[in-house]
Symmetry: C2
């Protein structure tokens, strides 16, 4: 299969959810998926769900599970750098058909990785790997290099009504 570069960005709900759906659909047809999570860490409902596909979908977390406000710490940066190194090494192997860089746009925007890291991964991507990049605030240079870009635009959000994130729905 010829692979492309997909980007899901914007401030609306559905980016991570779409990457999750995409991974599961792919596994449904036997494709092998690697998901690098750059911001989240912990046992989310999606991790539990993905466990059903552990033969085809691998998830690794390269974030410390917190929102980064202000200057990221050394640990934040080191964790994210490990993710970039790992994905770089996968680009040379025929181990996965799809690689998802979950929240990589956010990681670049808050400085734990750089936009150049993402661009380098795009340039290293072999023809037979599909690369999926998520997170709000995708850099224009990333959008330029991508083949498919969807902006999830928030028209209305129930957080504005004071609804808290719910287990099974948001987390």
């Amino acid at each position: 299969m010829k692979g492309y570069v997909q980007v899901y960005t914007g401030d609306g709900k559905g980016k991570t959810t779409a990457a999750l759906g995409l991974s599961i659909r792919a596994a449904g047809s036997g494709l092998r998926v690697y998901i690098a999570q750059f911001i989240k860490m912990g046992e989310y409902s999606e991790i539990k769900a993905l466990a059903k596909f552990s033969d085809l979908i691998t998830v690794e977390q390269f974030g410390l599970g917190r929102f980064i406000k202000g200057k990221p710490s050394e640990e934040d940066i080191e964790a994210a750098r490990n993710g970039i190194s790992k994905v770089k090494s996968l680009m040379g192997l025929a181990k996965y058909d799809i690689i998802v860089l979950e929240e990589a746009n956010v990681a670049a925007a808050c400085g734990v990785i750089s936009v150049e890291d993402i661009l380098e991964l795009i340039s290293l991507k072999p023809d037979n790997i599909e690369l999926v990049i998520t997170g709000r605030g995708a850099d224009p240079k990333v959008i330029e290099k991508a083949d498919l870009v969807t902006e999830m635009k928030e028209i209305k959000h129930y957080y504005q009504k004071g609804v808290q994130a719910r287990v099974g729905i948001e987390k």
Copy 2:
């Protein structure tokens, strides 16, 4: 769990994929999901993937599996009406926590169901069911009644480059 009404619309890729991801994440935390597909029919990769969650996720197809151009046939309308009736009956039961009306916006736009059908389901929704409505072209009246609305906006699409739908990625 208190349930809300979510709408995923717009012309970009990711609406069905987000609904799929949402269903799987929900199942990951033990929630029960019912998916009514109004346009598609057949063995897509997502159906194969969802089979892994057959204890928690039920999928039923109320479309004839073709795009409707011009006036829909009696069969198209009958199939879709069965879907509306089925979902209506589920609103009174405590059988599912989440109900997804897949491509219902499209079904309303092409006349196999009506916008009023969707509005009626929204008004019948009990407090403990989350209702998720997908498909491009959501009617303003549906958006008005929804609690969360994301527009998947197409910024760039590889179909424009002549890329065909691929098994495991788009179908």
